[in-house]
Amino acid sequence: MGAGDFPAGLDELIAKRVDELIAKKIEERMAQLMPKGPPSMTIIATKGTLDWAYPPYILASAGAALGWDVAIFHTFYGLKLLLRDLSQLRVSPLGNPAMPMKMPFGPRWFRQIRWNMPNAVASVVPGFEAWATNLMKQTFKSKGVASIEELRQTCIDADVKLIACQMTVDAFGFQPQEFIPEVSEFCGATRFLPLAQTADVNLLI
């Protein structure tokens, strides 16, 4: 039987069927190689001021609410977010020209003024940082933003893994008992990176 004897359209049928089977086979193989768990996210928290404490915990608790596996690696100043006492967190408008300053109290026209504090003023006024910190806390409270304590507890309740970088714990001289007991692990970069490698979302904050 010569090549010319195949029924018309057979090649097309075979090609179509092979495509279908290959697609199915690849899907099966991928499922074997990469079992599908829930999506995952790793966040590296590097900042330790009151304002920058929010993004990691907001994103982590939102991810956990979506059912994702979330881990936060706290390193450098981010370690301060793991301390038992979060009341030490401060925000400073000093060197931070992007920080909008609006009063959370008083009449409407007063609340709408955008205060631009030159560094020259901010740096010499005693108690300016404490005032700015208090202002941010009041503003956030009046806007219904949860406190850092509340957001961190939400993460803990949702099984977000809170990891502390061992190297910076040692380098900054933190004592283990200064941290909340919910810290799931003290570890190094080499332990953290494989976690990040398999995560679907990686964020550096």
């Binding site: 907001i58 939102a62 956990a64 609410a65 219904g144 939400t154």
Partner: protein, 74 residues
């Protein structure tokens, strides 16, 4: 619309309306309907994304003045 439980998320900012929605759903039986009232404008997009990602059905999403009302099926 009929519902089995109501969640008052008024005055809460991102991400608390979603966090509290997830908690409320966890305490409900499958198929029950949760009504959520929020004032966070971001919750319009957030609630839809939450429903899509978690497989819950967003039966209705409405803006009523300065409030956002959602009906979510567990």
């Amino acid at each position: 619309m009929e519902f089995d439980k109501e969640l008052d998320a008024r005055g809460l900012a991102c991400p608390m309306p979603i966090v509290k929605t997830k908690k409320a759903l966890a305490g409900m039986a499958a198929g029950q309907v949760l009504k959520i009232v929020a004032t966070d404008a971001g919750s319009l997009g957030d609630m839809q994304a939450f429903a899509d990602a978690t497989g819950h059905q967003l039966l209705s999403s409405q803006t009523q003045g300065s409030e956002y009302v959602f009906f979510l099926k567990n």
